[in-house]
């Protein structure tokens, strides 16, 4: 049996997980487009989205849609709090301090979640049944379609937000030209505040979508966050389209790699891809507005 037999199925799985990576990557890009800050706690929003939804369903007995909505709201509030309590006091600090502060925040979030909701991995029921659909001879879980559909809705929302509203324009302006944004009367800190909310919301949606597919436990956020970041770098740092492309590319590459290498090395594939892209093309596939080849 050759490894090629499994390729179609792995591709389907890769596109599903790629959609999740794309959502996480968009979370990073949203914050970067507003402030040039990289939030290493992004993965924890994903984890919290899944775990809090689980808590509302099992602990409070709410129906799934209401629980998911409340969980996303709760995580958005956590995102706002993260900005107010950690990022805002450090807005003038150096890159290193900000990295360490968000890493510290990620530590607090994941371990507090372990404390409140337990360390056992959580699984939500799929949105619509477990029976796999047959698409062109490939069995696909209905949840995968939900993931891809919901992801595209989020993409649409984000596109409209960043290209069709004043708020989105103001967010981008405050990152690309801080002084100009100040002169134009944009409250830059408020923009970063909103960006954290949007980014946390997207992370939480990714969490709700991914938990029926994979188990989510208190410590699964870090790795998801890192892979989302890698996806954002891979596609082109600071671009929404780059984040989406990078997410799908990373998901597919990682998933297809299982056919050729022992599955234990799967988590290493993303990081090897990262080192390769940083070495050969730091701008990413689509190029990046923030990285010009001279400086990097």
């Amino acid at each position: 049996m050759t490894p090629w037999v499994h390729i179609p199925q792995l591709l389907a799985a890769g596109i599903t997980i790629g959609a999740i990576y794309a959502l996480v990557a968009l979370g990073f890009v949203t914050i970067v487009r507003a402030s040039q800050i990289i939030n290493f706690a992004q993965g924890e929003f994903v984890m919290l989205g899944g775990v809090v939804t689980f808590f509302f369903i099992k602990g409070a007995g709410l129906p799934f849609p209401l629980a998911a909505l409340m969980a996303v709201t709760a995580v958005v509030i956590i995102g706002f709090l993260l900005h107010l309590l950690v990022i805002y006091p450090l807005r003038k600090a150096s890159v290193l301090i900000l990295i360490m502060a968000t890493v510290g925040a990620s530590m607090v979030l994941s371990n507090t979640s372990a404390l409140l909701f337990g360390t056992l991995p959580k699984a939500l029921p799929p949105f619509s049944g477990e029976h796999p659909l047959d698409i062109g001879g490939i069995p696909v879980a209905p949840q995968s379609l939900w993931v891809i559909g919901a992801t595209f809705l989020v993409f649409l929302f984000l596109y409209l937000l960043s290209h069709r509203t004043l708020l989105g324009k103001a967010m981008e302006a405050s990152s690309t030209d801080p002084l100009g944004a100040d002169l134009a009367g944009i409250a830059r800190n408020l923009m970063v505040f909103f960006a954290f909310g949007v980014s946390a919301g997207m992370g939480a949606i990714a969490g709700v979508l991914v938990t029926p597919l994979f188990y989510t436990s208190y410590n699964s956020g870090t790795l998801l966050g890192l892979k989302g970041f890698i996806a954002a770098v891979l596609g082109g740092w600071g671009k929404n389209s780059g984040a989406i492309l990078g997410g799908f590319v990373l998901g597919v590459v990682e998933s297809v790699s299982i056919a050729f290498i022992p599955s234990g090395y799967k988590d290493g594939v993303a990081f090897v891809a990262l080192l390769l892209i940083l070495y050969f093309r730091p701008k990413g596939i689509l190029g990046s507005p923030y990285i010009d080849s001279r400086r990097w």
């Binding site: 990289i38 309590l85 950690v86 006091p89 450090l90 600090a93 150096s94 890159v95 290193l96 301090i97 990295i99 360490m100 502060a101 890493v103 510290g104 925040a105 990620s106 530590m107 607090v108 371990n111 507090t112 372990a114 404390l115 870090t222 890192l226 970041f229 890698i230 770098v233 022992p262 234990g264 090395y265 988590d267 290493g268 990081f271 090897v272 990262l274 080192l275 940083l278 070495y279 730091p282 400086r295 990097w296």
Partner: protein, 344 residues
């Protein structure tokens, strides 16, 4: 062997050609040294053990201080070099019966070689991207260690690593290990003090201040960055080797991102461009981790909150702020005394 020893000694002795020769060893160095020698007398056994661990972390922090504090580069993958050191010693001593001293130097060499291979490409990056790339290296190291079961024993690791021994003298009690670890640390501190006063050390500060300016005065920026990365990795390798001999086991649990973050925290707390600060921070953070460990699952959230508070209130290091105050106080005291002397 004899010449190698002489060469090593020459590295840690003050170089007569360097400036500020008189200040090479100050009064405070003797105070620290005395405190170190006498500390085990007043500490109980668990605390001596804690100080052994703190000494190992201090070696790590000292190495990273050169890279992060002096050269201003970010590494979130230093736990991997620590791990490479630990596994090199573990494999050499248990499989090939290499004496621990040989494994000790081999660990530094192995970490340095890996650092050279990794550092050459990724040190072109800066800021967030360097942080991410080094972090990626750390994760790949963990994956490989867990998967390459034939070499590293997989998740369960390697057991029964012999105690550290030099010429038949076995370091088998906490007290002996205390003097071993802190003895190595003193040697490395002298080496680092020498280094930061040398041309290399000045170049590091210049690179941290501005890479363009540094290259304009003829500093080979890429070479300096790779050099200091290799050096700090070698420090981490030495620490890893000592860690293997003292724990007598090596498993991948200890080399995760958490350790890398802890080491970076030590350097930030100790202050940038400072050699003693990270050592004190290492002692403090080791003690804090141990103390919070008593609170079981509450320990990590509390630790995270303390980190964030430290970053908000002491962004340039507790040591640096306190030092600034102490220098002010001492200089004030000095001025007064001088005036008195004039009166006499």
């Amino acid at each position: 062997m004899y010449t190698a020893g002489l060469w090593l000694i020459s590295l840690i002795l003050p170089d007569p050609h360097l400036p500020y020769r008189k200040e090479f060893i100050k009064k405070r160095d003797f105070v620290y040294l005395g405190a170190l020698l006498l500390l085990p007398l007043i500490l109980s056994d668990p605390l001596v053990y804690l100080m052994v661990l703190a000494g190992i972390y201090a070696i790590l922090a000292l190495g990273l201080s050169l890279f992060l504090g002096y050269a201003g580069q970010i590494s979130l993958g230093h736990a991997a070099f620590f791990g490479i050191g630990t596994y090199t010693t573990a494999i050499l001593t248990t499989r090939y019966a290499v004496p621990p001293v040989g494994a000790f130097w081999a660990s530094a060499l192995a970490a340095a070689v890996f650092a050279y291979l990794i550092g050459k490409p990724i040190l072109k990056l800066k800021g967030y991207f360097l942080a991410l790339a080094t972090l990626g290296f750390g994760e790949i190291f963990l994956v490989i260690v867990k998967e390459a079961r034939n070499l590293t024993g997989g998740v369960s690791g390697i057991f029964n690593i012999p105690w550290f021994s030099v010429a038949g003298f076995i370091f088998n009690t906490y007290l002996k290990q205390y003097y071993l670890v802190w003895g190595v640390l003193i040697g490395l501190v002298l080496f680092a003090k020498n280094l930061v006063r040398s041309k290399m050390g000045r170049s590091l500060l210049a690179v941290a201040a501005s890479e363009d300016a540094a290259s304009s005065v003829g500093i080979n920026v890429a070479q300096v960055k790779v050099g200091v990365f290799v050096l700090s990795a070698a420090f981490a390798g030495l620490a890893g080797s000592l860690f293997a001999c003292i724990m007598s086991t090596a498993n991948p649990e200890g080399f995760s991102l958490g350790l890398s973050v802890l080491i970076v925290m030590m350097v930030i707390m100790g202050g940038m461009g400072n050699l003693y600060g990270p050592i004190f921070a290492a002692i403090f953070l080791t003690w804090l981790t141990d103390m919070l460990g008593g609170y079981q699952e509450y320990s990590l959230p509390i630790f995270g909150v303390i980190l964030i508070l430290l970053l908000i209130f002491f962004p340039d290091g507790v040591g640096t702020r306190l030092n600034a105050r102490l220098i002010y106080l001492i200089s004030y005291w000095g001025r007064k005394r001088r005036r008195e002397r004039v009166d006499i």
